[in-house]
């Protein structure tokens, strides 16, 4: 039995089911009517987190160790310094860290929070917050969002984060100092003469690290799919063979550094599935080739959009389970690493995020 934690435009949904046998059952809806931008259950503690951005009261992080229908507490410290010229706009991602009780959280405007008490209280990572270049960072279409946090299995000091459109940032001292990791990225939305990996606005859409080979990372860029084999220092394009190399979410098989999955959209000006068919594209050779995986997914008249946090996985290898939700409110799952798919749910509100455990 798999639990899906689904953040939507109109609340949080918890579903349970089996990707091999069809629809999941909705167990709980919480934060009714509120946009839940990101939600997950920390597998280490079982604690459930929901980041909600009330249109009235601003972004807040809540957590529960009890009944997810009602028993939520607001986390402390999820705020920018008072008296500055910026306000917290939205929480984009939460990631369990490598050290016990440590979690990271990425938010707009390009801010990384960390917690050392299991997520009850948070503080800003000062190293990234005080980056001298911060004043020049430019937001992407979704804001100045820190949306990807890649820990290094077994090493709490090494971390990579991605910010749209301030690019990749790497640390090897637990976040005290950061440097860029953008060599090789080619933003086609700028004239070639303008590209400087240290200063150019780089619209990274999503980044994932391989668990089995941590120096290998995959990136979905704003036009371009990339791979790094040097822990995010430099990148090479691997998008040839995809129907489009524009998209947002990406997943990596934790057991196989050569296996990754993307969900292409037509282009930035037409953010729906190519050929109006719902397909996940899989590589088993590190991006040298790609194959469509759509058995069981809508094959015609499907103009779906999948957002960057709405694709998740649990398990690995042949038992890798993949799940993604669309802004149409449809939710799909595979229990066999993408070979076959089922409809896990329909008619949910627009799906913002999906996590599985």
């Amino acid at each position: 039995m798999t639990e899906l934690v689904v953040g939507t435009k109109k609340g949080l949904f918890l579903l349970e089911g089996d990707a091999d046998s069809g629809p999941f059952e909705i167990q709980t809806r919480a934060f009714a009517g509120e946009p839940v931008d990101y939600a997950l259950r920390d597998p280490r503690s079982g604690r459930l987190f929901a980041a909600a951005t009330s249109p009235f009261y601003g972004p807040k992080l809540f957590y529960t160790d009890g009944d997810p229908a009602s028993d939520w507490e607001q986390a402390e410290g999820v705020t920018l310094p008072e008296g500055g010229d910026q306000a917290l706009e939205r929480i984009w991602v939460i990631a369990p860290g490598e050290a016990p009780g440590v979690l990271y959280m990425g938010a707009d405007p390009g801010v990384l929070f960390e917690s050392h008490d299991g997520g009850a209280s948070w503080e800003i990572n000062q190293g990234l917050w005080n980056q001298p270049s911060r004043r020049e960072w430019q937001p992407g279409g979704g804001g100045l969002c820190l949306h990807s946090i890649s820990t290094w299995p077994g090493d709490p000091d090494r971390l990579a984060v991605a910010i749209s459109a301030a690019g990749m940032w790497l640390t090897e001292d637990g976040g005290r100092s950061w440097r860029r990791g953008n060599r090789g990225l080619t933003p086609r939305y700028l004239p070639e003469a303008e590209i400087d990996p240290e200063t150019t606005a780089l619209c990274v859409h999503h980044v994932e690290r391989s668990h089995s080979r941590p120096e290998r990372m995959f990136m979905q860029f704003h036009g371009g799919v990339y791979r790094s084999d040097d822990a995010g220092e430099s990148w090479g394009e691997i998008g040839a063979g995809l129907p489009s190399d524009f998209g947002f979410p990406l997943k990596v098989d934790p057991a196989d550094a050569d296996s990754a999955f993307v969900i292409p959209l037509v282009a930035d000006m037409d953010r729906v599935m190519p050929d109006a068919r719902v397909r996940v594209y899989e590589t088993r050779d590190g991006g040298s080739s790609w194959s469509p995986r759509g058995d069981g997914l809508p094959a015609e008249h499907a103009y779906l959009t999948v957002l960057r946090q709405a694709f998740t996985s649990t398990g690995q290898s042949e038992q890798l389970e993949l799940y993604f939700g669309a802004t149409s409110g449809d939710l799909f799952g595979s229990g066999d690493a993408g070979a076959t798919w089922c409809t896990a749910a329909t008619r949910l509100p627009p799906v913002f995020s999906v996590s599985a455990s």
Partner: protein, 86 residues
């Protein structure tokens, strides 16, 4: 002193009380005082910049105000989420 009136989730975060007697020369001072004395509501009306959140309206004796609006002694201050949408 002025009376700050809150409702909905703000009331729940303020100990279940809908009316709060507070001192403040401007709306910003008054609302900061409200959030200080009700820390669970901190950041719910004012953002980090000290601005009233975009979809919250605050009225002083029935007139919509902003952060700089003067609050006369005995004023009634209503904090009301906006009716948004179309």
């Amino acid at each position: 002193m002025a009376v700050v009136r809150v409702r909905g989730p703000l009331r729940a975060l303020a100990g279940g009380r809908g009316e709060h007697e507070l001192q403040g020369a401007t709306l910003l001072e008054l609302l900061r005082g409200f959030e200080r004395s009700n820390p669970d509501a901190s950041g719910w009306i004012l953002d980090e910049r000290g601005l009233i959140r975009r979809h919250i309206n605050v009225f002083v004796d029935g007139e919509r105000g902003d952060e700089t609006t003067a609050v006369p002694d005995g004023a009634r201050v209503d904090v009301i989420p906006a009716i948004t949408g179309g």
